[in-house]
């Protein structure tokens, strides 16, 4: 297909472009180059060459100026390849220097909306929405603004960021993705690279941004020579074939030489990545996220015989609402209260099943966990894979008993002494046993709840988070953070 397009282009060049003035010709060629980039991206790079050669049928080459032929003829006595015999001269194709100004103009547009000339910290994220990673970003931004850092938040995806109102007012926001949406991915990467090189912040921190990771992979040598590079990773995702995927799998190894710190919120994922790739422990830092400390003030009371169980999460393959449906069938006398969101994939069927189950009640998503925490004593989590879900941290802080699948980083918080852990986590019957056990033994439940709360007080307060962040940013040399958190 590319060859056909190239043939058409050559004909176009010969019959039309050759007949128009050079300046116009260059504009048309630039336009055609951009079309080529859209249609045939693998044949295109925005920053490749000094010039943009055009392959031509030789007989249509514009004639080489006489003075140049004469000079080549003279120099052929010094250099064999500059022979001006007709057959050799015909090998020299004419080309036009392509002036591609679109990226440069877009770059100027970006500069015009960035308020400051310098930043201490540039955090690159896809967006700010409702997810756990978004919450982590907000905690990082809060810490940085409370500590007087000049921060630029770069949002690389064009999608609407629904939680920008949560970003501290002192943080400047660049909606990069919305500005550059009309450019190709590699052009976007080139723009981001240049912004990072020109601003040269003390720290560049990439969280879940594909463009940010791609910049690190391609331009990490340059970027890391002017800034310290941090990345945040929380867990693998699992694709529909059951394979681990995600930025940790795709980008971490090629980017690793440029990264000063890999930040996670749980120690399990550190070991997962180290085992997978043999990476050194010293570059990892576990920074546990703070929770709403008002939750710690809620009274813990497991003396009543409430049969109401809380389930929170997206209605998707990761959180496995279908497992909840199976559990609810096995426990018809227990009521399950679902605060869920339909956000990915085709899960109309599971939503319908949830609605149809008599002992499952669907609720609107809550804004703050404390608004619903008082209503429940037990929370059930059925994730197939995860980091350390924020909802479990909040639940532990609020004094809820946690029954959860034993996946990802959850074991950092929930063990058999701080909750009920389901090792064989795809079996609904295993959850049923735990639910029955906790409902039958309130005293034991209380013990577990108190243990979990102690973990929260130790690791998930703002004070603990600030201490971890300070150590992270001031640590010199790299390498002792795993032991201090």
């Amino acid at each position: 297909m590319y060859r056909i397009a190239l043939y058409v282009y050559k004909r176009l060049y010969v019959y039309i472009l050759m007949r128009i003035p050079l300046a116009e010709r260059r504009r048309v060629i630039n336009f055609l180059n951009r079309v080529r980039g859209k249609l045939f991206p693998k044949y295109y790079s925005p920053s490749v060459n000094v010039t943009e050669p055009i392959t031509l049928n030789q007989k249509w080459n514009p004639p080489m100026p006489d003075w140049l032929q004469s000079e080549m003829g003279e120099l052929s006595h010094l250099e064999f390849h500059l022979n001006t015999e007709e057959a050799n001269l015909a090998k020299f194709e004419h080309f036009v220097v392509g002036i591609k100004a679109a990226s440069g103009k877009k770059y100027r547009e970006l500069l015009s909306v960035i308020p400051k000339t310098r930043y201490d910290y540039v955090l690159i994220a896809p967006w700010i929405k409702l997810g756990g990673a978004d919450l982590a970003i907000l905690h990082h931004l809060s810490y940085l603004s409370r500590h007087g850092k000049d921060v630029l938040l770069v949002l690389t995806e064009p999608e609407l960021s629904t939680r920008l109102d949560r970003v501290p007012g002192e943080v400047d926001i660049l909606e990069f993705g919305r500005h550059v949406n009309d450019l190709m991915f590699d052009e976007q990467r080139h723009l981001l690279d240049r912004l990072l090189i020109e601003f040269a912040p003390d720290v560049i921190h990439v969280v879940n941004s594909r463009l940010g990771w791609y910049s690190l992979k391609v331009s990490g040598t340059a970027i890391s020579s002017v800034s310290d590079v941090y990345v945040s990773l929380y867990c693998d995702d699992i694709d529909s074939a059951g394979c681990p995927v995600g930025y940790g799998r795709e980008f971490l190894v090629p980017s690793f030489p440029y990264i000063k710190r890999v930040i996670t919120d749980n120690s399990v994922y550190v070991e997962t990545l180290r085992k997978a790739f043999g990476l050194p422990k010293e570059k990892f830092a576990v920074v546990r996220l703070p929770t709403d400390e008002k939750l710690l003030e809620l009274e813990v009371d497991h003396s009543d015989k409430s049969q109401d169980i809380l389930w929170c999460g997206r209605l998707d393959a990761q959180k496995r609402p279908e497992l909840l449906v199976q559990i609810s069938r096995l426990l018809p006398n227990v009521n399950f209260h679902v605060y869920g969101q339909v956000v990915t994939g085709n899960n109309n069927d599971i939503a319908r099943e949830l609605i149809e189950r008599p002992n499952i009640k669907l609720h609107e998503p809550f804004d703050r966990f404390i608004d619903v925490a008082r209503e429940y004593r037990v929370i059930l989590n059925t994730s197939a894979w995860d980091g350390l879900p924020n909802i479990l941290v909040e639940a532990a802080a609020a004094g809820l008993l946690i029954i959860t699948s034993d996946v990802g980083g959850i074991s950092d918080l929930v063990t058999q002494t701080t909750g009920y852990v389901v090792v064989n986590h795809s079996e609904p019957g295993e959850y049923v046993k735990c639910i029955e056990a906790c409902l039958e033994d309130p005293a034991k439940s209380l013990e577990k709840v108190v243990g979990a709360r102690e973990q929260i007080k130790k690791h998930h307060t703002r004070l603990a988070f600030d201490r971890s962040m300070t150590e992270l940013l001031e640590a010199d040399p790299v390498g002792h953070l795993l032991e201090t958190v």
């Binding site: 050079l22 300046a23 260059r26 504009r27 925005p46 920053s47 490749v48 060459n49 000094v50 010039t51 943009e52 050669p53 080489m64 100026p65 003075w67 140049l68 000079e71 080549m72 003279e74 120099l75 010094l78 250099e79 390849h81 500059l82 090998k91 020299f92 194709e93 004419h94 080309f95 036009v96 220097v97 392509g98 002036i99 591609k100 100004a101 990226s103 440069g104 103009k105 770059y107 100027r108 500069l111 960035i114 400051k116 000339t117 080139h190 690279d193 240049r194 090189i197 020109e198 601003f199 040269a200 391609v218 331009s219 990490g220 040598t221 340059a222 970027i223 890391s224 020579s225 002017v226």
Partner: protein, 238 residues
């Protein structure tokens, strides 16, 4: 006087061809009363290149030969410029060829237009691995757009300018393997434009660019090397 600052590395016998071309340029200048000083920087040059440069007939008393171990084109050019005595400086590469009148016509061009002018050969002929030719871009032409320098370098590294230009704007370090930064000529072009210098084409002059399977440029392009931070693309204070 014009100082022709030329960097050599491991060109081997190709250096001899370049030296022959430089000698031709020198003769052309001196026949017209323009004195030429050759400043050759041998940056980690191999023994053959070193020998060919030292023994070439173009090298005369008063010329400058510098042995350096920068391993860096930008720093080597700066070093050569710092040792050059000419009012005008030409930057040449050790494996290319130049049209006979390139140095002389450039000096005449600057004398006519002013010391804010940076001269480039009008044409570039690529030869070797591939053969092609083009006209370079004139900053005062209609099609010139400074924002195009964001994605592409418009000019080859061969320039002639008044020595003040090089004293105002040095070449940046170009250690792409360790820092990821290179294309020191592209960076220099951006910096000089930002400071108000004008890049012009000298009519009927040409550089002949030897294209090799592996070159510094091709290596830098394949590794996605960047130019260093430049005032041309910096966020300015309002």
């Amino acid at each position: 006087m014009i100082s022709a600052v030329t960097t050599f590395h491991r060109e081997g016998y190709l250096a001899q061809i370049t030296l022959n071309s430089i000698e031709r340029c020198r003769d052309y200048c001196e026949q017209r009363g323009l004195k030429v000083e050759l400043v050759f920087v041998l940056d980690r040059a191999d023994a053959l290149t070193n020998k060919l440069v030292r023994e070439h007939s173009c090298v005369k008393a008063g010329d400058v030969l510098i042995e350096a171990s920068n391993g860096d084109l930008g720093l080597s050019r700066n070093l050569g410029i710092s040792k050059a005595g000419g009012e005008f400086i030409a930057i040449l590469d050790g494996d290319d060829l130049y049209s006979e009148s390139w140095l002389f016509d450039s000096v005449e061009f600057i004398k006519a237009r002013g010391n804010h002018i940076i001269c480039h050969p009008e044409m570039v002929v690529n030869f070797g691995m591939y053969n092609s030719y083009c006209q370079q871009v004139d900053q005062e032409s209609e099609e010139f757009d400074v924002d195009g320098l964001f994605a592409t370098n418009f000019w080859t590294a061969w320039v002639v300018a008044h020595r003040d230009v090089f004293q105002q704007v040095e070449y940046a370090k170009s250690d792409h393997l360790t820092s990821g930064f290179g294309h020191e000529d592209w960076h220099w072009n951006c910096e000089t434009i930002h400071r108000g210098y004008i890049h012009k084409l000298v009519p009927e002059t040409c550089g002949f660019y030897r294209r090799k399977t592996v070159s510094l440029l091709s290596e830098q392009l394949s590794k996605r090397v960047h130019i260093r931070k430049t005032s041309l693309f910096a966020k300015s204070e309002k």
